[in-house]
Amino acid sequence: MSDNSLNNLPGGFKGMSHDMGSDQTAFKGVQWGKVMMWIFLLSDTFIFSCFLISYMKGRTSTVVDWPNTSEVFSLHVGGVPVPLLLIAIMTFVLITSSGTMALAVKYGYEKNRKMCGWLILATAIGGLTFVGMQVFEWSKLIHEGVRPWENPFGAKQFGSFFFMITGFHGTHVSIGVIFLFIYARKVFRGDFDNGKRGFFTTMKSDYVAIEILGLYWHFVDLVWVFIFAFFYLW
């Protein structure tokens, strides 16, 4: 293609609509899998939004008082309750794993197989740690008598929403961790370098898959930030 066809294209919003409306692809040079993940995440955003909006509605309209979250979620260190301690660590671990994931994507595109594999493994371990700490928090709350159907500290909806929404998010993290381990194995084995065909899909492997998994992982982290804000800071 010659450059002079580019010179004649309109700029601004009109240029954008020319871009999107042109033939073959709406998003130029973006792989199918990546568009798929973005649109899936948009759909998933609506799921989490529905959950969180329901939570806001439930919390604001309940007749019994909502429990004091900074007490319920606090950890006792040497007999002193420290609010937000566990959750701060959990959030830190998860955000850090987002960082290692981003690096893994970078090394993947540089075809640095080793670094990429180790970083994916680090991300997976970060995710696993997060899920582990969530299990700890759940069992602590359950031990104190909080259940989906009752709550000794106040409104019973607290237990319902907390277990449902963190559970749904935790499921997302767990699925991500499983895929991270699978991908780490694939990277170390060199599947993405030699384009080995997938066992189920029979399609060729490509390093873009790591970026797609990365998109998912960053999304899960972003959702956590909202859950964190709405459950622990409100």
């Binding site: 004649n8 294209l9 409306g21 033939d23 609506f46 329901s54 439930g58 899909t201 399609m203």
Partner: protein
């Protein structure tokens, strides 16, 4: 790798129709110039055994047929349920096994089956899978494996739904809206296993549909062939695309409400459950909000109406254009109307809830948005009519169904304006007027399109024509019969006959309603049985139908231009088609024939005064 594609300098620059056809920027003086391929040749899975070719098949065309047949099967179950309901309403106590509980279960299952498992699956799963790759010029859906899993998820969802007929207590009888608290409390039929299986089945449907929907969207956005700009896509594709986008954003609300209600049922959480006294005993529930469920449900439920309607709008536009031998009037307007209706459909949901006890100001807002959505919808109706105006109309079965669609849709749309206004809705809600409205607008109207589309595309799928004679009988039975069913229901609604009532007993309006109810029941039975003509027509035409040959309707769009008819695996043989125009160049002045296919290069029709697309 295809020969047009060069990995190193794959052209990523934007190109509108201006630059594609070389009028601006002029990369080439050639008027047939279409810029080279951006995408490498698609890597396809080729099935070898019977199982990989026909059962766990990854070819979108087979998956489309699988979706179609499964959806039609569930649709027939829904039809039989409607007969049973009508028998009870027209001739109370005639059929001894229809008790009040069974009646509510039939109502519920009929509604859910028809809306979700029949119409949604048929339009998006059936027509979407078959037509999208063919119409945009792709070899297959972009993720064939995911597409295959999508169908089987749908299949499992249907199995779970059907299983609820056979569990203790039977299927749920909560009405298709499944409103809590009654849906999960004893006293409602099927409040144990029935409702749980329904919620599980819906969740599976959403998961399966998400997989399919991602395929449809990305195939349309990212896998079109050379020259196929967005504004050259047939309106069918625009309708299916927008409907899928709506589904991707609306089904999450359904999934969330299903999850929350499952927890309410199984773990006794109180998301939707207020404090309830049952038989003098306070239940463990308390503090939840039933109206929250209604909001979640209708945030899904209203876009769902358009998930069904928009593909119908798109398909009918194409059918009218082909069989009226005229370009669709106001193509761009039609596209923007589809997209606009899709966008607006997310802001009207609470018009289903005027009587739910929500804040009255909400009703004011949602009545306004509801009436606004009538504008693009009416615009589409005008455009169909103007397309027909002074056209060279072929009065065949397909066109008859299109005309039937316009009539029923206008009828249902006008009653929709009644119901959109709070003051009119309050006395009419929960009467037969509502039943008449939504059956006209989202039952009969889309069904007319489906039937027209089957007559139109049957030659493509099977290579044989359906019988015109039987088709016309089928049309008149269906159209007149459906009108005889639903038109009197408007009157029943006005005199106040409530919907969802098992029996009227000695109510004062019984005298005038009884005769009408009997009439409606007889009509419903006739319409139902007349579908046997359709089924017979399809089955017999498979073997004795007239061979269709290539492009029997002289249509322009790509699906008719495959090297083999019916299209083979991979759709296009050696080379992908190259597109030079929109699919609506009918009766162009100066052209030799009355149609110019999308693949005809400008140099072959040099004297034709085609529209620039």
């Amino acid at each position: 790798m295809s020969d047009e594609y060069n990995q190193k300098n794959a052209p990523l620059e934007a190109q509108s129709s201006d630059t594609i056809s070389g009028t601006s920027g002029t990369p080439s003086k050639d008027i047939d110039y279409v810029r080279p391929a951006e995408l490498p040749e698609q890597d396809l899975y080729h099935g070898h055994s019977f199982i990989t070719k026909w059962i766990f098949c990854q070819d979108a065309k087979i998956i489309g047929v699988q979706y179609f047949l499964t959806a039609v099967f569930t649709g027939i179950v829904g039809l039989v349920l409607s007969w049973l309901m009508r028998l009870q309403l027209g001739y109370p106590d005639l059929v001894p096994f229809i008790t009040a509980e069974h009646y509510y279960q039939f109502v519920t299952m009929h509604g859910m089956i028809m809306v979700v498992y029949f119409l949604t699956a048929l339009f998006l799963g059936g027509f979407g899978n078959y037509l999208i790759p063919l119409m945009v010029g792709a070899r297959d859906m972009v993720f064939p494996y995911v597409n295959m899993v999508s169908f089987w998820m749908f299949f499992i969802a249907v199995c779970v739904l059907m299983a609820s007929f056979f569990v203790p207590g039977g299927p749920t009888g909560a009405g298709w809206t499944l409103y809590p608290p009654q849906a999960i409390l004893p006293g409602t039929p099927g409040s144990n296993m029935g409702i749980i299986l329904m919620l599980v089945s819906l969740s599976l449907f959403v998961i399966g549909f998400t997989m399919g929907g991602l395929n449809y969207i990305i195939t349309i956005l990212q896998a079109r062939t050379r020259g196929m700009t967005l504004m050259r896509m047939p309106l069918t594709i625009w309708g299916i695309f927008t409907a899928t986008a709506l589904a991707m954003l609306a089904f999450p609300a359904l999934l969330v409400s299903c999850i929350m209600m499952t927890l309410d049922k199984m773990l006794e959480t109180s998301f939707f459950m207020p404090t309830i006294v049952q038989a003098g005993e306070v239940l463990d529930y308390g503090g939840g909000s039933p109206v929250l469920f209604q909001h979640l449900f209708w945030f899904f439920g209203h876009p769902e109406v358009y998930i069904v309607a928009l593909p119908a709008f798109g398909i009918v536009s194409d059918l009218i254009s082909v069989h009226a031998r005229k370009n669709i009037f106001g193509y761009r307007m039609m596209v923007w109307a589809i997209v606009g209706i899709g966008g607006l459909s997310f802001f009207v949901w609470a018009h289903h809830m005027y009587v739910s006890g929500m804040n009255p100001w909400f009703g004011f807002f949602f009545a306004t948005t509801t009436l606004i959505i009538a504008v693009p919808t009416a615009l589409k109706v005008y455009n169909w009519i103007i397309t027909l105006f002074r056209a060279n109309i072929r009065m065949n079965t397909v066109m008859l169904f299109c005309l039937g669609f316009i009539v029923t849709f206008v009828n249902g749309g006008i009653t929709g304006i009644f119901l959109g206004n709070v003051a009119v809705d309050i006395p009419l809600s929960d009467t037969y007027f509502v039943i008449a409205h939504f059956h006209m607008v989202m039952g009969i109207a889309p069904l007319m399109v489906i039937m027209g589309a089957v007559y139109h595309w049957f030659p493509l799928v099977t290579g044989r024509m359906l019988s015109e004679k039987l088709g016309k009988w089928h049309f008149w039975f269906t159209f007149l019969g459906a009108y005889s069913i639903y038109f009197p229901m408007h009157y029943l609604g006005f005199i106040g006959v409530p919907r969802r009532y098992f029996e009227m007993y000695d109510s004062p309006y019984v005298a005038s309603a009884t005769g009408l109810n009997e009439f409606i029941t007889v009509a419903a039975l006739i319409v139902g049985f007349s579908q046997l003509i359709f089924i017979y027509n399809i089955v017999s035409s498979l073997s004795i139908g007239k061979p269709a040959g290539k492009n029997p309707w002289k249509a322009n769009s790509l699906e008719w231009l495959t090297p083999e008819v019916p299209p083979a695996h991979g759709n296009w043989g050696e080379k992908l088609p190259v597109i030079h125009r929109w699919p609506y160049d009918f009766n162009v002045p100066g052209a030799k024939e009355d149609y110019i296919t999308q693949t005809t290069p400008p140099s072959e029709v040099i004297s034709a005064e085609v529209e620039k697309t």
